[in-house]
């Protein structure tokens, strides 16, 4: 019996040492994990979607492999409503001494974002990003780090205004109406598309035209839309509606004078 208990004692001691060394070196390995972020890219996808592609460089200098390395992001607005669905990128294994670059993509559907919330078009605000990085150290011990970040949101049509309309008589029957449109693109993407203007006399469409708009990111835009309008249509009941049509979003009708 003594021999059996002695062997059991020896086995317990060896297992304790093994367990302690393994646990300590595994947790210590977290220190030797290095992360760096590459230049984020914005990709335009079909269906009014913007895809943010963030390269994450992971260098595993620890003693063990890393299993199930995953990055999850979730974007919400200032009121906590989900703007973009949670997106995850999972890498099954990162071997020890290995350096890998993981591309984490988060999509943002612009049309969904604007549904009922047009202030994103006109007002600068901020979005909340919940980032979570999880992994299994030595493919056994789960570790997770999470953070909440705020990213500024620049309005693509900031301070959209219509300047004074100019009426120039072409002939006795027609008038050329020139509408000046001004806005600042505060967004992180270029606004390019068309600006469509429809002029109504009461409920009757009397003229329409569109012009191409090209506003690089963080730059002001000033453009004109010209309409050839029958002189008889220029009455007190006239009003016009504007539409902004871009690959990311469509906005309109917008009545600048609220008539």
């Amino acid at each position: 019996m003594q021999i059996a208990t002695r062997i059991a004692g020896l086995a317990t001691s060896i297992l304790w040492v093994f367990l302690l060394l393994f646990s300590v070196t595994a947790v210590y390995s977290i220190k030797d994990l290095q992360f760096s972020f590459g230049e984020p890219k914005i990709i335009i996808a079909t269906g009014n979607e913007l895809i943010f592609s963030l390269p994450i460089n992971v260098s595993n200098n620890g003693y063990y492999n890393i299993g199930l390395f995953n990055v999850t992001t979730e974007i919400t607005d200032t009121e906590g409503l989900l703007v973009s669905p949670p997106s995850s990128t999972v890498t099954p294994t990162i071997g020890k001494g290995q350096k890998v670059t993981i591309l984490h993509n988060t999509s943002l559907n612009f049309q969904d974002l604007l549904n009922g919330k047009h202030n994103y078009l006109f007002n600068d605000t901020e979005l909340k990003v919940a980032v979570s990085v999880g992994m299994k150290i030595a493919e056994l011990i789960p570790v997770q780090a999470s953070a909440n970040l705020s990213i500024p949101w620049g309005a693509p049509l900031f301070n959209l205004t219509v300047g004074e309309t100019e009426h120039i008589a072409i002939n006795l029957t027609h008038v050329r109406v020139v509408i000046q449109v001004v806005f600042e693109n505060h967004a992180f993407f270029d606004v390019s598309g068309n600006l469509r203007v429809c002029l109504y006399d009461g409920d009757i469409l009397v003229a329409e035209n569109q012009t191409a708009i090209e506003a690089p990111q963080h730059s002001p835009y000033k453009g004109y839309v010209e309409l050839c309008v029958p002189a008889a249509a220029i009455s007190s009941a006239w009003h016009f509606e504007m539409y902004v049509l871009t690959p990311f979003f469509n906005y309109g009708p917008w009545n600048p004078y609220g008539k």
């Binding site: 059996a4 317990t12 997770q144």
Partner: protein, 146 residues
């Protein structure tokens, strides 16, 4: 009187190797702990509460080991061995709670799941408890036989 002095000397002679063994065990355990401290230093910066947990654990564990070694050969040795095994299991359960350890740095929350470590430690603690129990039964048996 002389007999008493001789008996006292004999007891001292018996105690000396045990005390030496206890001292060696204590020094070895301290050395292991100090070695681990070197590895754990960066983790303590992340989780200072872990240091407190481990320090208390190691102090009590070493004290119980030394006492059990010094009084080896008596029934009390087995009491202390059982107490040490019980302490390991109960302290791990009480200090690690659900086995999920969380820490905050600025706006980053770090969560480490120690449940697997906790399960293995408890199993080893129970194994040690069983071993101490067998030792006690064996000791009682040998006492009855003699």
């Amino acid at each position: 009187m002389e007999n008493e002095i001789n008996e006292h000397k004999l007891n001292l002679r018996k105690l000396m190797p045990r005390a030496l063994k206890a001292a060696i065990k204590g020094v070895l355990l301290c050395a292991v702990y100090l070695g681990l401290q070197f590895l754990l230093a960066p983790i303590y910066r992340i989780a200072p509460s872990l240091q407190q947990i481990l320090e208390t654990f190691v102090a009590v564990y070493i004290a119980l080991t030394i006492i059990a070694t010094v009084i080896a050969g008596t029934i009390y040795e087995h009491f202390f061995s059982l107490a040490r095994a019980t302490f390991v299991v109960s302290y791990l359960v009480l200090s690690f709670k659900d086995g999920i350890f969380g820490a905050d740095f600025q706006n980053v929350r770090l969560i480490i799941d120690f449940r697997l470590f906790l399960a293995f430690s408890m199993l080893l603690g129970l194994l040690e408890f069983a071993k101490a129990m067998l030792h006690t039964v064996d000791y009682m048996n040998s006492k009855l036989e003699s």
